[in-house]
Symmetry: C2
Subunit: 470 residues, 2 copies
C-alpha cells in the first residue's frame, strides 16, 4: 500500500526520466546563444536568447509568452492561469543573460558550445542562470503529468530578465511599469544555489550590490618616466593608494559610513550557519583559493552570506603589453563592487564612496567616478508558509532533510519584493563548484533534474497549503 506522497514522487520522477534527453538538447541549444549583456557587441545575441525562450515557453504550454523590450536588453514574460479562483499566484524570476566568457580566460572548451562530461554540463550560463530557468519548463510539464491537470495548480507567471549580469539597470522600472500583470502572492527566485550535492538547502536571503568604476587622471598623456619620473604624481600609484585604503587592518571596509544600518546576525542565525557541515579546506578548494581572509570576528560563512564587502574586480593603467614601457601613465582605473546586506541603502553607500574618493585623489590628479545601478539586499522570514512549501517540495525531490543558507551573490529580488509587495523565496540547485562567472562553468545534471522535480511538487504543495479564501 503506497503512500500518496510516494506515488506523486514516482510519477514526477518517471516523467522527468522520459523527457530528460529532449530537455537537455533544448537547454544546449539555448546555451549556444552568447547572451552577454555587459558587452554591447552581444546585444543581438541577448535579443535572440529572449526570442528563443519565449518560443520555447509557448511550446511548453504557456498560453501567453511575450518578449518585453526595455531601454536595455529584453526580458521574457509568460503566464499560465490555473483556472482555480482560490489558487495562489506565483511569479518565477530568473535571467537569460550571462557573464562574459572567452576561451582564453581558461576554458577547456568553447564557453558557448555546451559539452557533457560525466554528470556535468559545461557552458557559460549552465548554472547561472539558464539551467535554473530552464528546469521550470520540464517542471511544469511533470507537475501536469503527475497530477493529471491541464493547467498548473497555481497561477504560474515567469519573468526572465536580460540584464541581471549588468546590474539589472532597467529591471526596477520594468517591474513598476508592469506591476499589474506581474502581481503575485509570492516570488520564486531560481538564481541561487544550495549547500552541496548531499545537503539540499533553501536560501533565505541575498546580498545587494553596488558597483563603480573610479578613474584617476594624471598627465594629459603618457609621459617618459625618466624625463619626468619622481617629480609629478603618478595616477597608477594614486589608484593603488586608494585601493590600499579600502580596508582597515581588521579587513573591514574603511569607507566612512559604509556600515550604517547593517542588520547584524542574531545568535540563532549564527547557530544555523554553524550547524552546516562546513569544511574550510574543501570550501577553499571550491574557491580555488589558498587562504581564508576577511573581516575580523566573523566566520567564513558569515563573511560571504551576511557581511558587506568591498572587492576589486579589475584594476588597470599604463602599459599592459609584453616587455616594458618606461612611462608614467596618464590615467589608471579600478572597478569596485560592494556587496550589501539587509539594512544597507545603496544610495547611502554610493554617497559614502563618492565622499571617500573625493578625499583621496592627490593634488594634480583629477578623478571620475561612475556607479552602475545598484541591487538591493533582501532577506526572507524563516517561518513564512510559502517558504515551508519550498522546503517540503525540495525534500520530496531530494528525499533528504532541507537546511537553510543565504546567498552571497546578488539579484534584483528585493525590487520584486518591494514593488509587488510579495515575499521572495529562493529555489536553486546550483552547487558552489559550478563556477559561476568563472571559466568552465557547469551544472550537475542530477541536480538540474532534482530542480525539475522540486518545481513539479512545489505548485501542488503551494496550492494545497496556501489557498485564497473562497
Amino acid at each position: 500500500m503506497s503512500h500518496p506522497v510516494d506515488s506523486a514522487v514516482s510519477a514526477v520522477r518517471t516523467y522527468v526520466e522520459q523527457h530528460r534527453a529532449a530537455f537537455l538538447d533544448d537547454l544546449a541549444e539555448w546555451l549556444r546563444i552568447p547572451s552577454v549583456s555587459a558587452q554591447p557587441d552581444h546585444a543581438p545575441d541577448v535579443r535572440r536568447s529572449a526570442d528563443w525562450l519565449a518560443a520555447k515557453l509557448l511550446q511548453t504550454g504557456f498560453p501567453t509568452a511575450e518578449v518585453w523590450q526595455t531601454p536595455g536588453a529584453p526580458a521574457v514574460y509568460a503566464q499560465w492561469p490555473s483556472g482555480d479562483p482560490q489558487a495562489p499566484t506565483v511569479l518565477v524570476y530568473g535571467h537569460h543573460d550571462v557573464q562574459p566568457a572567452a576561451r582564453e580566460d581558461g576554458w577547456d572548451t568553447d564557453p558557448f558550445e555546451p559539452v557533457v562530461r560525466g554528470n556535468r554540463l559545461h557552458a557559460r550560463g549552465a548554472a547561472d542562470d539558464k539551467g535554473q530557468v530552464f528546469f521550470h519548463t520540464l517542471g511544469v510539464r511533470a507537475h501536469l503529468a503527475a497530477t493529471g491537470r491541464t493547467a498548473p495548480a497555481v497561477n504560474l507567471k515567469l519573468l526572465i530578465e536580460g540584464e541581471e549580469e549588468s546590474g539589472s539597470p532597467n529591471f526596477r522600472a520594468l517591474v513598476e511599469e508592469r506591476a499589474g500583470r506581474l502581481a503575485a502572492d509570492a516570488v520564486i527566485v531560481s538564481d541561487t544555489g544550495m549547500w552541496s550535492e548531499d545537503t539540499p538547502t533553501v536560501c533565505t536571503g541575498m546580498r545587494g550590490l553596488a558597483e563603480c568604476e573610479i578613474r584617476f587622471l594624471g598627465p594629459d598623456q603618457d609621459i617618459h618616466s625618466g624625463s619626468f619620473g619622481g617629480a609629478v604624481p603618478n595616477p597608477a600609484t594614486a589608484i593603488a593608494r586608494l585601493v590600499a585604503g579600502l580596508h582597515d587592518e581588521h579587513a573591514r571596509v574603511a569607507v566612512p559610513g559604509f556600515y550604517d544600518g547593517v542588520v547584524e546576525l542574531t545568535d540563532r542565525e549564527r547557530e544555523l550557519f554553524a550547524e552546516l557541515p562546513f569544511d574550510e579546506d574543501q570550501w577553499l578548494s571550491t574557491a580555488r583559493s589558498h587562504a581564508a581572509h576577511g573581516e575580523a570576528g566573523h566566520t567564513t560563512l558569515e563573511r560571504i552570506w551576511a557581511r558587506p564587502t568591498a572587492e576589486v574586480n579589475g584594476i588597470g593603467g599604463g602599459y599592459q603589453g609584453p616587455g616594458s614601457k618606461t612611462i608614467i601613465p596618464s590615467s589608471a582605473f579600478v572597478k569596485l563592487s560592494f556587496r550589501l546586506v539587509a539594512g544597507q541603502d545603496p544610495d547611502h553607500v554610493e554617497k559614502a564612496v563618492r565622499a571617500w574618493v573625493a578625499e583621496q585623489a592627490p593634488a594634480g590628479v583629477r578623478y571620475e567616478i561612475a556607479f552602475s545601478p545598484a541591487t538591493r539586499p533582501c532577506l526572507t522570514p524563516l517561518d513564512h508558509p510559502a517558504l515551508r512549501s519550498v522546503v517540503r517540495a525540495m525534500g520530496r525531490a531530494f528525499d533528504k532533510p532541507v537546511r537553510f543558507t543565504r546567498e552571497g551573490g546578488s539579484g534584483p529580488a528585493a525590487d520584486l519584493q518591494e514593488v509587488l509587495d510579495a515575499p521572495v523565496l529562493f529555489l536553486g540547485i546550483s552547487v558552489p563548484s559550478d563556477g559561476w562567472h568563472a571559466p568552465n562553468e557547469k551544472v550537475e545534471l542530477d541536480l538540474l533534474l532534482k530542480g525539475v522535480e522540486t518545481a513539479a511538487h512545489l505548485w501542488s504543495d503551494l496550492a494545497a497549503h496556501w489557498r485564497h479564501a473562497p
Copy 2:
C-alpha cells in the same frame, strides 16, 4: 677680415643647408620602419632598420658598416679611420629601436608615417633616437666639406644598438665581446636632450634603470565576487597595497636599502641646477601634468636628474572591458621602474626589491617577480678636456653660451664607460617638449640641423685639442 672660426661655422652651415632636403627625406624613410624592440611581432622591422642604417652609412662614406647580430635585436657598427696616427678615436653611441606606439594611444597621425608640421617632424623615433643618430651622417659630411678632408679628423666609430628601449639586454655582452674593435678614447652618446631651444646645454650624467614585473597570484582562476567575496584574499587588492607601500609619506622610496650608496649632490651642483632658467609652470606644461610631486627636500630638477625614483609603468588585473564583471581576479601585476643615480648598484637594488616584495605578499597569495637587465647610472667629470670640446662645438653651432644639465632618462652609456675604460660625453639636441615615449613624438628641425653642425665642429675640435702623443 673674418675670424677662422667664423669661416668654419659658415662653411658647415652652408653645406648643411644645401643637403638638408635629402637628409630629411632619408630620415623619414628610416622613421617609417616600426623598429619596436619590446614587441616580438616587430622583430623583422628592427632587423630591417639595422640593414637600412648600415647601407646608409656605407653610402655616407664610412668604409666599414656592419650589422652585428645579438641573441636579441641587431646593432649597427661603422668605422671611418682618420689616417692620422695621432688622432683620437671616438665612438658614437645611439639606438635604432623605438618605443611602442599606436595611433589609438593619442597620436594625431600614424606614428610610423612621418609628417612635418611647421618646424617639427613628428614620428615615433624622431627624437628618441633615430633623429639624433642620423644627424651624425650629415655631420661627418659637413665636417669633410668644411675642412677639405677626405677622412674625418678623428678615428670615427659608430655603435647603434637595437634594444635600448627594451633595457639593452644584450648590449653589455656585445660590447665586451667586441671591445677590441670598439676601443675608443671617448664615447659620444647622442641619446639625450638639451635644456630648451634657447638654452643649449651639455648633459653630464644619466640615471640608471632597474625594471621589474611583479605578479600576485590569488585564486587559481577568476572567482565570483558574490559567492566568495569578503572571505579570500584578492590579489588586485594585495598588489595595490604593495604599490601603496612603495613610497613613504615624504615620497621617498620605502624599499629598505634602496638608497644605499647614493652619491648626494654637492652644493656646487645644486647651484648649477638652480642657475638654469627653470619655470615650474612651463615645465609642468611640458610634462602635461597638473602638479609637482616628489621627494621632500629636493627641487624638481634635482628630483628628475639626481635623485633615484620608483614609478609604476603599468598595473593590471581582473576585468578590463566595458561594463562590469563581478569577479575576484586570479592575479594582478605591476610593472615598476626604478631610476638609479651614481653610487647605486642595480644588483643591490634588485636584491632589496626582491626582499621587500617577499615581505609584502599576504597569506594565500603567491608572487612572481622578474627583472629585466638593468642599466647603470653614469656621471662625467665637469672638467674633462673632451667635454670642453663638446661645449665649444655646441657653442659654435648655436652661437650661444652652453650650460650644464643631467639627464633623467637612462642608457647603457655606463657599460661603455666601464668596458672600454673611456669617458662618456653627451651630445643631444632634443628638447623636453619632444614627447619621448609619448604620442606625437617630434623633433625640432632647427635643432636637428644644429646637431649636424655640432658634430661637424666636434671632430675638428677634438683632433685639435686632444691629440695622442707622437
